[in-house]
């Protein structure tokens, strides 16, 4: 097991390095004049040149690359173009707030989706199954800002059940905070229901058709015992992988939701940075989210290896 973890960590580091390189290419190689890009086509040339001088974009590419890597390792992502303050603490704080929202969304969607997937698999090809699959396909096709919009109109405005803005007052306790976060969380949870439910369904169907499920039934185990002891563990392995991947998409869709519900999380921060061409902020955001995704997939891999010894064996050989 230790060798498995070590190998995955090494691969993760390589991926992280490639990630940073890609971001560097986008921010430094693509634009032919960084200063001009930031200040726009109408700014006077001297201002642009001064900015380029300050940012050091006149230096050779390789030096800038090494610098950026150094910044990555020392966790120094530079200062914001807008506020002048260090970028990383701001990003981390924003990610933390977004994580609350994302966490709530996952908390809502994971149990419901898995339950739906299992239910659908047990009633394969019958009405309930077809309905769940259809529902899943439909719901995951609707962008978060659309669901968010509809929720605001229907639940927030017309019915008035939940507050429309996601940010609770400063001194609010946890239940109140959750109440405020509920609608945006539901908007996000709806999208991921489809993926998780369908993957659970597929994994469960495959296990239900396996020979060892047959063995369990032939021993005389009840359906419930078979499901609990033999099916679940094997069926949920691909679901764990899907959930990890969705975490990556989560932080993309969260931008739209945060805009609608006026929540000061990472999404809003990034949007603001985009509107003001704050490259360091954007860069830091991309890398931090990339890191979150890699952590999620690494954790998922570990969980899967613990669940299924065959996965462990594959890399040990």
């Amino acid at each position: 097991m230790a060798r498995f973890i070590a190998r995955r960590l090494v691969l993760a580091l390589i991926t992280l390095w490639l990630l940073a390189t890609i971001v560097f290419i986008i921010t430094n190689v693509l634009p032919d004049n960084v200063g001009r890009t930031i200040l726009g086509p109408f700014a006077p040339q001297e201002t642009v040149d001064a900015l380029n001088e300050r940012l050091g974009t006149n230096r050779p590419i390789l030096i800038r690359y090494v610098d950026s890597l150094r910044g990555l390792v020392t966790l120094d992502f530079g200062n914001s173009f807008v506020s002048g303050k260090a970028v990383l603490p701001q990003v981390v704080g924003a990610v933390g707030r977004s994580a609350k929202l994302a966490g709530l969304a996952l908390l809502i969607t994971i149990p419901i989706s898995i339950a739906a997937g299992l239910y659908a698999a047990r009633r394969r090809d019958r009405t309930a199954d077809r309905a769940i699959v259809l529902l899943g396909v439909t719901l995951s096709s609707i962008p978060e800002f659309v669901t968010g919009t509809i929720l605001v109109v229907v639940v927030g405005v017309q019915l008035g059940w939940l507050p429309v803005l996601a940010t609770a007052p400063e001194t609010a306790d946890i239940p109140t905070q959750i109440r405020f976060l509920l609608m945006p969380a539901i908007a996000m949870a709806i999208v991921y229901f489809g993926y998780i439910a369908r993957m659970t369904r597929a994994g469960t169907i495959e296990v239900l058709q396996s020979d060892y499920t047959r063995t369990a039934l032939m021993k005389g185990l009840t359906t419930g015992q078979t499901m609990r002891r033999h099916v679940l563990r094997n069926a949920l392995v691909p679901t764990v992988a899907v959930i990890a991947v969705q975490i990556g998409y989560l932080f993309g869709g969260i931008i739209a939701v945060e805009k609608i519900f006026n929540y000061n999380g990472m999404g809003s921060t990034m949007l603001f940075a985009a509107q003001h061409k704050d490259l360091p902020m954007l860069t830091a955001g991309v890398i931090v989210i990339g890191l979150v995704y890699m952590l999620a997939t690494l954790t998922a891999d570990l969980i899967m290896a613990w669940m299924n010894p065959l996965i462990r064996m594959d890399t040990e050989r």
């Binding site: 020979d211 047959r214 063995t215 005389g220 094997n234 065959l310």
Partner: protein, 703 residues
């Protein structure tokens, strides 16, 4: 639940399994397709009954019906199934569950898949006991005892293992242990040894027999291998298209079949040592009916040489012959004598020509993250024009690696030489000139994966012809037509894609493809293992014909010694990457043999009754990564000599010209000992010293 029309005799009341006129259909897209058409048979407690037949005959369906494990679209349209008097077809779900828990158990074909891969083996076996009400601790103890009972040497260690860490034989024993936990009245075995190595299969079959004697359970064995049925079962039912066409005492049925189908089946097997030079195998004309097709009155009529008008209209009832449960469903049992053997082959003796292929000191070591696995060690081999060399061995023997090395799919280690005619063969197929690529071609085991499912048969052949021979245009078509004709493929077949062809037809296309460039040598890797028995005969006949016509040499790899004996002129026996014995077929089969060959020959379940000597090897086949010292076979050898075999590698000794083997025991000694074993009715097994030597060296880990 029994009929009140006539008083039932005592014995029938207590039949462990009684299937009465069972008819079953699968509903596909709304249309019911009949799979079982009025199946009736009975098994008494302590008796073992075999259901034998080819694909689609319904034998597995019958077994699964008996345990009520059927898909949702299966409908029992008539009849009932009684287990000790209880009608299984009428039970509700809870009753079925109790029934499965206490009265019936099942053992399946692929033991690796039958065990939960993410749970240790021990708890799974223990579960069979906890279900019956035992506490966890008691169940654990019972499980260990059960594992011991199925002859697993170290039950505590196996208890803690995951299924993937056990060999196939061990896995099956664990499954059998689970099955016996409830002391069932009925034990159902569905192809329990298909896929296991020959020596492992033999010991598992022995185990089943001894356990059955202990428990007095009724045994229902499903198999397509008639030899297995003969070895285990008292009685047999031959199934065809959902009907039992003949039934009776196993030995009697196989000795003197009384139904055209049974006779055809038996005659299509290479039995009693017949050889291709004597006579082609008998084939049954036509092909197996589709599952669920509508069939005329006698299901076999379309392929039966004895068929007359009445066979099309009246369903032959089971006619009782000679009493004692011997029945046959045929209108023309009295005319069975008309069915003759195929005429003797004239001039089929293949004249052996020049030396075509020679291997000297060929080795192949695989390097896998840290270990070196020697798959082939110092192989010397020769192959002459027009002859068939049979390559025999179990898992880890290296026969597949040898084939791949000859073909150039793998490259041999430095120091080995492959020569075709007079020139060296390039190590990799890609490096070889087209002429060499033409000369050596392959027929694969699995016709499904061997043909590109997106191409038509014609395209497959045409591409091979044009690529290998350089012909163009009309010449290509002409050659394709000739190949098709040689393999009895019609123009219509050529226009089809593989998924529209049966297994036998696919294999013929694959063989035609191999012959596209008029090869000198064809490597046939288990060419008939994936095919039904009756189809196998046709393919073997074709291979034989092609060889005579084209003077092609075959390297025939097979685990089926009957097939090898029929087709091969010379045989090489491999174990752990080394050739243990090589010689002319007749000489190898006559003996004296290398002890491994001896064990192999005795392990094959023979449809004609017990082999002459009974040898049961203990232990597992060692892993090629960790070969034993000295003679690699010493850890299992029933003629192990302590102090010699595990220390020194055996020399190459000559039994007679052309017949060589590697053993420490002198030829005359072997001859004497093996003759003695044939006369005495003793079972020879691996002696304890050999097992100790294996354990001491730590080379008993499963492959």
């Amino acid at each position: 639940m029994t009929s009140t029309l006539a008083p039932q005799p005592e014995t029938e009341l207590k039949a462990a399994l009684r299937v009465e006129d069972l008819s079953l259909s699968y509903v596909v897209r709304g249309i019911p397709r009949p799979v079982l058409r009025g199946v009736s048979f009975e098994i008494r407690p302590g008796e073992s009954y075999g259901l034998v037949g080819e694909s689609g005959c319904g034998k597995s369906t019958t077994a699964y019906a008996a345990v009520r494990y059927l898909p949702r679209n299966a409908v029992i349209t008539a009849g009932r199934i009684l287990v000790s008097g209880d009608d299984v077809t009428k039970m509700n779900d809870e009753q079925v569950r109790q029934f499965r828990m206490r009265h019936v158990s099942m053992v399946y074909q692929d033991p690796g898949a039958a065990l939960n891969p993410t749970t240790k083996v021990g708890p799974q076996v223990a579960e069979a006991f906890t279900i019956l009400g035992q506490t966890k601790r008691d169940a654990e103890a019972s499980a260990i005892k059960a594992l011991q009972r199925v002859q697993i040497a170290d039950p505590e260690r196996v208890y803690q293992r995951y299924p993937y860490q056990l060999s196939g034989g061990m896995q099956q024993r664990a499954v059998i242990a689970m099955a016996l936990a409830s002391d069932p009245k009925l034990l159902v075995l569905d192809e329990p040894t298909t896929g296991l190595d020959a020596t492992v299969e033999a010991s598992v079959l022995d185990l089943v027999r001894s356990l059955q004697a202990e428990t007095n359970a009724a045994v229902l064995l499903i198999a397509h291998n008639l030899g297995v049925i003969r070895t285990i079962c008292d009685r047999v039912g031959v199934m065809y298209a959902g009907k039992i066409v003949e039934e009776g005492d196993a030995a009697a049925v196989f000795e003197r079949p009384q139904h055209p189908y049974t006779l055809g089946l038996l005659r299509s097997l290479p039995r009693r040592g017949i050889r291709k030079s004597q006579r082609p195998l008998a084939t049954i004309p036509g092909s197996l009916p589709q599952i669920g097709a509508d069939l005329p009155a006698c299901v076999f009529v379309d392929r039966c040489p004895l068929a007359t008008e009445i066979c099309h209209t009246v369903d032959p009832p089971p006619i009782d012959l000679l009493g004692g449960g011997r029945t046959s469903r045929c209108h023309h049992i009295d005319r069975m004598g008309e069915l003759r053997e195929p005429p003797a082959a004239v001039g089929q003796e293949t004249a052996h020509g020049e030396l075509a292929l020679s291997l000297s000191n060929v080795s192949k070591t695989f390097h896998q993250s840290g270990h070196d696995v020697p798959a082939l060690v110092g192989v010397d081999l020769t192959l002459f024009d027009g002859e068939t060399l049979g390559l025999v061995g179990e898992s880890g023997s290296g026969k597949s690696t040898l084939a791949k090395t000859i073909l150039g799919i793998e490259s041999p280690d430095a120091g080995g030489e492959l020569e075709l005619d007079d020139h060296r063969l390039g190590a990799r197929s890609m490096q070889r000139p087209t002429a060499d690529k033409r000369s050596i071609q392959m027929v694969f085991q699995n016709p499904e994966s061997a043909l590109n499912r997106g191409w038509t048969a014609r395209h497959i052949l045409a591409r091979s012809v044009s690529k290998l021979t350089g012909l163009k245009g009309k010449a290509v078509n002409a050659r394709v037509d000739k190949l098709a004709a040689d393999l009895r493929l019609t123009q219509r077949h050529l226009d089809l894609k593989p998924r529209q062809l049966s297994g036998g037809l696919k294999q013929r296309v694959a063989i035609a493809r191999a012959f596209a460039g008029d090869p000198r040598i064809v490597v046939a890797d288990e060419p008939t293992s994936a095919l039904d028995v009756s189809v196998q005969a046709a393919i073997l006949n074709l291979l034989s014909e092609l060889q005579v016509e084209n003077k092609t040499s075959y390297l025939l790899i097979s685990h089926d010694l009957g097939v090898v004996r029929y087709l091969a002129d010379r045989i090489a026996v491999m174990y752990l990457g080394r050739i243990m014995e090589v010689g002319e077929s007749e000489n190898v089969f006559r003996g004296p043999n290398h002890p491994y060959t001896e064990a192999l020959l005795s392990a094959i379940p023979n449809v004609d009754g017990e082999p002459e000597a009974r040898i049961r090897l203990e232990g597992e086949i060692p892993s090629p990564a960790n070969p034993p010292s000295g003679c690699v076979f010493h850890t299992r050898c029933h003629r192990f000599i302590k102090g010699l075999c595990e220390v020194v590698e055996p020399p190459l000794i000559e039994v007679e010209p052309g017949h060589l083997m590697k053993c420490h025991i002198p030829v005359e000694e072997l001859r004497r000992l093996q003759a003695k074993a044939r006369q005495e009715d003793v079972v020879l097994t691996t002696p304890p010293e050999a097992i100790e030597a294996a354990a001491a060296a730590g080379s008993d880990a499963p492959a």
